[in-house]
């Protein structure tokens, strides 16, 4: 009996070849117009760079200013990228010939981006090169270069609880202010209880703005937590002390799951993380904004001894190789920047992987809490220079900071 496949005609094959070429031949020979919407969205949300200008400066405190940034069409930015509240911008500057970058959370409402406005709020950091530079140099009209909105510190309804206790310290208020705006504008849907730690009533940032939002929506509640002795007595509704477990419990829903979001200085994380341990919340309900740049690796208990104070780094970027010298107390990224070499960077906390580079020889120390590399990266000698500290001389391959 013939195989049943023989009922199909083999000779149907040859005409297929001709027909295919004929189909090509008959098609129009012009470039298709326009972009598909997937590409439009991708480019709108993730522009390579945004070229902006300072349109206004608002003094928030003696050492803190807000900068209103608008697009600079002359340098190619027509509109601002939309963002979801909690995202940051990386600011690119050159200070005394040294390329420097820092990540700052957007403090403005996402809606404002549609009207061509971002706001960054910058507080002076002790010994902080960038914050000092910005506070001294940025004025109306200053040209500014920033990244696309980045980061993972935004609300996700499929992951986070409907009630969120937001713990802010100092200028760590910025992403929460943006979230509060987004809730009031209907762009986010969750109930926010903001426990905002400041030293005293005078050092609170955005007090009026926060009050205005809280008055507009019952989904935002603001509680000031003041640490100076007796400071809370001067402010009705304020709590005295620090962001403790007891305080979180006081304001958290008693019978429903809640998320805790944290943003503040590294010392605040160290304190609050211990407090949170006592609450035994599932990990999914605790979210930190990034750690920030890491300093003083030698203070870590797993940091090796006998590390030379000075190291040599030979770095190849595309087809250019340079050898520089730096301090082993600095990250690989800092050493390169101090030698005038720009490195791709975004978060500077190990997390985003934007600076992903190949370590060809030598050894580095990576603080445990900043270890976000992929498994295969460790196997194949790839590092994140922003949180890698040289232990020996290094040979590196780094992508250009395009």
């Amino acid at each position: 009996m013939a195989s049943p496949i023989k009922s199909l005609k083999a000779k149907a094959f040859l005409p297929m070849l001709k027909a295919r070429q004929a189909r090509f031949e008959a098609a129009p020979a012009a470039l298709p117009a326009g972009s598909d919407q997937a590409r439009v969205i991708a480019r709108a949300l993730h522009p390579h760079r945004q070229y902006l200008k300072v349109a206004a400066v608002t003094e928030r405190a003696a050492d803190c200013k807000s900068f209103t940034l608008v697009p600079d069409p002359a340098r190619g930015t027509e509109a601002l990228a939309w963002f979801s509240a909690g995202k940051y911008l990386t600011v690119f500057e050159t200070i005394a010939g040294m390329p420097v970058t820092r990540a700052y959370s957007l403090s403005s409402a996402p809606r404002d981006a549609l009207n061509g406005q971002y706001e960054l709020t910058i507080k002076r950091v002790d010994g902080g090169l960038m914050s000092q530079y910005i506070l001294e140099h940025w004025a109306v009209g200053t040209e500014v270069e920033v990244s696309a909105p980045s980061g993972n510190f935004d609300y996700q309804p499929l992951r986070d609880a409907g009630d969120v206790i937001c713990l802010a310290g100092g200028s760590g208020i910025t992403p929460f202010l943006s979230m509060a705006h987004a809730i009031a504008d209907g762009d986010e849907d969750f109930s926010m209880t903001l426990l905002y730690g400041s030293r005293n009533a005078e050092s609170i940032l955005f007090r009026e703005e926060l009050d205005t939002i809280a008055a507009k929506t019952d989904k935002v509640r603001v509680v000031h937590v003041l640490s100076d002795p007796d400071a809370a007595a001067a402010l009705p509704g304020a709590e005295q002390g620090f962001l403790t477990a007891a305080l979180i419990q006081k304001y958290a829903p008693a019978d429903a799951p809640y998320s805790v979001f944290l943003c503040g200085p590294q010392q605040m994380y160290a304190f609050v993380d211990k407090e949170l341990e006592t609450l035994q919340l599932p990990k999914k309900y605790i979210r930190h904004e990034m750690f920030g740049e890491f300093h003083n690796p030698a203070s870590q208990d797993d940091y090796p001894s006998d590390v030379p104070a000075t190291v040599q780094i030979t770095v190849t970027i595309q087809d250019e190789t340079t050898t520089v010298t730096g301090s082993s107390a600095d990250s690989v990224m800092q050493i390169l920047e101090k030698n005038g070499i720009a490195v791709p960077s975004r978060c500077r906390s190990g997390e985003c992987g934007f600076c992903h580079s190949h370590l060809l020889s030598g050894e580095v120390y990576v603080p445990r809490q900043l270890e976000y590399r992929r498994l295969a990266d460790k196997q194949f000698g790839c590092i994140h220079p922003c949180c890698s500290f040289p232990l020996t001389d290094l040979v590196l391959n780094v992508p250009p900071a395009k």
Binding site: P28, R159, R374, F380
Partner: protein
């Protein structure tokens, strides 16, 4: 200025394979990639305490020690080391019942379904299982597999033997070869007398290539299915990033250069042919020959002056429909797979069993079509103790984002993800939502951002009957734009898939190596 023997544009799977093959052959090779890591789809990303696999379901090209698969052999040829984890399952297809379905039954999950097919590895075992599910389908399934065995022999003869001897050895297989490639999967299975319901189960993998049974050629479908069923499949232990970095290492170890964050922004033409590229808008590099892993649509619109583009390339771009686009939801779970009640690596949840009906429903979101994978089934310790990771995939066709504005995108993608999660929860009687510790959602704009393809497709052009694998392969050279510029990757003859992309990259490299030899 240095002139490279070959410049490879794009470090996706095809570009990596091309650059590694060229570098290993001693050519001076430059691989240019716009992102900061290699692989395109073959990568990974970290969220919290989870490292997610972005795209790989499984590699059909991982065989057994006695019979290594094509992907394994490719890595062996390069000397690239990867720790493969074997998967000895294939797929489970679950079709929840609709009201009024007469043949509905309650499955092991307590869900009313019309199909629940958990298919084993091995032609015999697969066909027996199919016969259990749809009596009378054993013979037709075995016939289909025997045909695919014969087709592999034909490929071997054509590929291995020198010249005409190989062609002569392949001759006895040619009539069936021509029958299968000129008829659809549906026509083929009809001819073999396979019952309709068995055909539906048999065609489950149609989505891996994005063409349903009435538009997918019988030959290529059988070649693909053969790869999955014969010896099972595998995945790399450290996600696809391990595969990509292992090839990156081969390129470097063999003297090749790789520049990341280095986007080709223009191709320099001389005497009607590419002679170099501009990188990041500011750096010129010259090359003798080029292999391009980037999507042809955007290569033409973004890198060339219109006058320099061969007319045929524009015509091809205009007439070939873009293949499937994907949406993926990555879930880091704070429960183990046992606690969640997951028993399979790969479950295809479909609103109906017929692939053409599925295809019709996938013209937009909320189709009820979703594949759910659990990596811990193959790599139990791929997440910390007490956790697991899930990976949900759905498929769409066309510009499904057309009504979405950037500011509405987050809400929309959350809605799509919720629908996909609920589809899986219902179909498998699972509880997923309360245990999500990390989530990332990738829609076509995500793929567009990372792959830079039209509509964000990872799949290239639709493998339709008129533009199917064998005609694409036979006409490969006449479809290339310049004699020193070859394409590779998902846009080429084999469509999407890691193994397919590696193959096209290696092939373009071998043609390039040969051309340079002949030129000397």
């Amino acid at each position: 200025m240095k002139e490279y023997d070959v410049i490879v544009i794009g470090a996706g799977n095809g570009g990596l394979a091309a650059a590694a093959t060229c570098a290993k052959a001693g050519l001076s090779t430059l691989l240019l990639e716009r992102h900061n890591i290699p692989g395109g789809s073959a990568s990974s990303f970290v969220r919290g305490r989870f490292e997610f696999e972005p795209s790989l379901h499984e590699l059909s090209g991982i065989g057994t020690p006695e019979e290594p698969g094509s992907v394994e052999e490719f890595f062996n040829r390069l000397g690239a080391k990867v720790d493969w984890c074997k998967d000895s399952s294939t797929f489970r297809l679950v079709v929840p019942a609709k009201e009024g379905d007469k043949d509905a039954f309650v499955n092991e999950n307590g869900v009313l379904v019309t199909v629940d097919a958990r298919m084993p590895v091995g032609f015999e075992a697969f066909s027996r299982k199919l016969d259990d599910l749809v009596p009378g389908s054993y013979e037709s399934a075995m016939k289909a597999f025997r045909l695919s065995e014969r087709m592999y022999k034909a490929f071997d003869c054509l590929g291995d033997a020198d010249g005409i001897a190989g062609v002569l050895k392949a001759l006895p297989y040619m009539p069936d070869f021509m029958r299968m490639t000129s008829h659809t999967l549906k026509e083929g299975l009809d001819a073999l007398g396979m019952p309709k319901k068995a055909q539906d189960i048999f065609a489950t993998y149609w989505c891996y290539m994005g063409s349903p049974a009435s538009r997918f050629d019988f030959l290529y479908y059988m070649a693909m299915l053969h790869g999955y069923i014969k010896n099972g499949t595998g995945i790399p232990r450290l996600r696809s990033h391990e595969m990509s970095l292992s090839i990156d290492k081969v390129i470097r170890d063999n003297g090749g250069d790789i520049w990341y964050n280095s986007e080709v922004t223009k191709v320099i033409m001389e005497n009607g042919k590419p002679a170099g590229v501009v990188v990041n808008g500011n750096k010129e590099v010259r090359g003798k020959r080029f292999i391009c892993n980037a999507s042809p649509n955007f290569v033409w619109s973004d890198l060339f002056a219109e006058a320099d583009i061969p007319q045929k390339q524009l015509k091809m771009t205009n007439v070939r429909p873009v293949a499937a686009t994907l949406t993926t939801v990555y879930l880091g779970m704070n429960k183990t797979k046992e606690e969640l009640g997951i028993k399979d690596y790969s479950v295809f949840v479909a609103p109906c069993s017929d692939s053409d009906e599925q295809f019709a429903l996938c013209q937009d979101y909320f189709s009820g079509y979703c594949i759910i994978n659990c990596l811990n089934e193959i790599i139990p310790d791929c997440t910390p103790a007490g956790t697991s990771q899930l990976f949900l995939t759905s498929m769409t066709f066309g510009d499904v984002m057309k009504d979405i504005q950037p500011q509405d995108y987050k809400k929309f993608k959350t809605k799509v993800a919720k629908d996909m999660i609920e589809t899986c929860e219902k179909a498998l009687n699972l509880t997923i939502q309360p245990y999500i510790e990390e989530i990332e959602i990738a829609l076509p704009p995500t793929f567009s951002r990372y792959l830079n393809t039209p509509l964000g497709t990872p799949y290239g052009y639709m493998l339709d009957m008129w533009d199917s694998m064998i005609p694409r392969t036979l006409q490969f050279m006449q479809d290339q734009p310049f004699d020193n510029f070859l394409f590779c990757g998902a846009s080429q003859e084999r469509g999407d898939g890691y193994g397919c992309a590696y193959h096209t990259g290696e092939k373009a490299a071998n043609l390039t190596i040969q051309a340079l030899k002949e030129g000397q």
